[in-house]
């Protein structure tokens, strides 16, 4: 089980507990504003872009090459960017804070 906190663009903070699946799916199920997950999690749409709180990067790890290629063309991307469809929920993610990019 992991507690994951989303901070939306209007600075609302929402903490949700998840057991399995992707962080994107968790966000969509809970109607987190700015996470659309249009492609269902296959890394083709970039509508689940989050900025990981710097101290949590150790827990999430860095973006994969395929994510980086995608994010490279997003004007809003930085070194803390991840596509959260590529983050699998597990104990290791407990306590992470993700700022929704959109």
């Amino acid at each position: 089980m992991a507690k994951i906190t989303f901070i939306t663009s209007d600075n609302e903070s929402i903490t949700i507990e998840g057991n399995s699946g992707s962080v994107m799916a968790l966000a969509v199920e809970n109607g987190i504003k700015g996470i659309d997950g249009d492609c269902g999690g296959v890394c083709s749409c970039a509508t689940c872009h989050v900025h990981v709180r710097p101290e949590d990067m150790e827990k999430t790890g860095a973006a994969s090459e395929i994510e980086t290629d995608m994010l490279e063309l997003d004007d809003n991307a930085n070194e803390f960017s991840r596509l959260c469809c590529q983050l699998e929920i597990g104990d290791h993610l407990d306590g992470v804070v993700l700022k929704v990019a959109k």
Binding site: D38, C39, G40, G41, V42, S44, C45, D69
Partner: protein
């Protein structure tokens, strides 16, 4: 297994030089073929613009058959973003449960209908009615409107063997003008009325702007959806194991839809007008010439996709560009994805097998290349699951 295959005619050129050349009505197009170049150029709206003369970024060019600017499609940022923000919430409605229930009811009734026939011509008797009926949900107009749209035939602008058809385009424009007139007199909760009452830069959208959005909605989602549906039927006919798998694991339909969009690439390419002298793949491109972003080629790029020539039903990482990429990605994608997902799950639930009897392929002539994009017609027999 050959009938449902969509060959990749771009492979050699993509590997050898990265681009192709197509002369389109004396306004030549340099086709970008590599995934990376396609995505980069789609993102770079300053050098590769959409807001050119209306119709020019479409390949084949529509400059001779229309003056109406399609919105937000033929507008560049930042103005593009302002238009897009107005229409985006409307085009996300397919995510609502109620919308999906109505779409499921439509598709279920159509599938039940064809299951009782000996032979079905998929393009005209299945894909076209399916697309037209579903469009009544997207537009929030009466179901009966779909009969008018079905009567127009499979293409809004194109006829078999003819790249552009001005008469057909006029039927659409006249229809949209009349509908806008109706909505002005009797506003309701349909898309025309909602657009006419939308605020844009401190005023309401004009009739011409509303027409631009409506033309885009009709034209962009017609032969693309029809091709996607017809190709899906052809694939499932030759892959009963996939039909069975979708029945046992309905949750993979979401991934299957993305893979179908990658493999079928219902829209082969989209153009841009070049605003300054530049280079792509060491090839010089002059200002005021055209490039195209060849989605169909990018989606078979082996440097990005493993086994690009195969349909991998549950492909996990699939950064396809079948719905375009960046600012101008497909506005109707949410609707299209729901149509295909519900179609796959409905067929899996009700159909045991599909037999292709005869067919005529729709092959696009792209000058240097010929690409199969779907079928003009395909007769099949659906066998019920009992």
């Amino acid at each position: 297994m050959e009938k449902s295959k969509l060959p990749d005619p771009f492979e050699k050129a993509r590997l050898d030089k990265g681009y192709g050349e197509m002369n389109d009505q004396d306004d030549p197009v340099t086709m970008l073929l590599r995934h990376k170049d396609v995505r980069k150029s789609a993102h770079n709206f300053k050098t590769f613009q959409s807001g050119a003369q209306p119709g020019r970024i479409v390949v084949p060019s529509e400059v001779n058959i229309r003056d109406t600017r399609q919105i937000p499609f033929e507008v560049d940022p930042p103005l593009h973003g302002e238009y897009r923000a107005i229409v985006e919430p409307w085009f996300k409605r397919p995510l609502q449960e109620e919308y999906q229930e109505k779409l499921t009811a439509q598709i279920t009734s159509l599938v039940d209908e064809i299951l009782n026939k000996d032979t079905v011509e998929v393009v005209n008797q299945f894909a076209l009615p399916l697309q037209s009926r579903a469009l009544t949900l997207l537009l929030n107009t009466p179901f009966s409107e779909s009969e008018t749209w079905i009567s127009w035939g499979t293409h809004v602008f194109r006829s078999e063997g003819e790249a552009l058809d001005a008469d057909k385009a006029n039927i659409l424009y006249d229809y949209i003008d009349a509908e806008i007139g109706r909505a002005l007199e009797n506003p309701g909760d349909d898309m025309y009325s909602i657009l006419l009452s939308s605020d844009f830069q401190g005023r309401k959208l004009s009739k011409e702007e509303v027409k631009g959005v409506m033309v885009l909605t009709f034209a962009g989602g017609r032969d693309t959806v029809i091709n996607a549906v017809t190709n899906s039927i052809a694939y499932l006919a030759e892959h009963p194991e996939s039909l069975k798998r979708l029945r046992q694991e309905p949750e993979i339909a979401v991934k299957a839809v993305e893979e179908f969009i990658r493999y079928f690439s219902p829209l082969t390419q989209m153009g841009r007008v070049v605003t300054e002298d530049t280079h792509v793949c060491e090839h010089a491109i002059k200002a005021d010439s055209r490039i195209s972003l060849c989605w169909a080629s990018a989606n078979r790029d082996a440097s990005v996709f493993e086994n690009p020539k195969e349909i991998v039903l549950d492909r996990k990482i699939n950064p396809h560009v079948g719905f375009g990429f960046s600012h101008h990605n497909c506005l109707g994608a949410t609707h299209a994805r729901q149509i295909l997902k519900i179609l796959l799950n409905t067929l899996a639930r009700k159909v045991k097998s599909i037999e292709i009897q005869d067919y005529k392929e729709n092959i696009e002539d792209l000058d240097e290349f010929e690409r199969k994009v779907g079928y003009y017609r395909m007769n099949v027999k659906f066998n019920k699951l009992t």
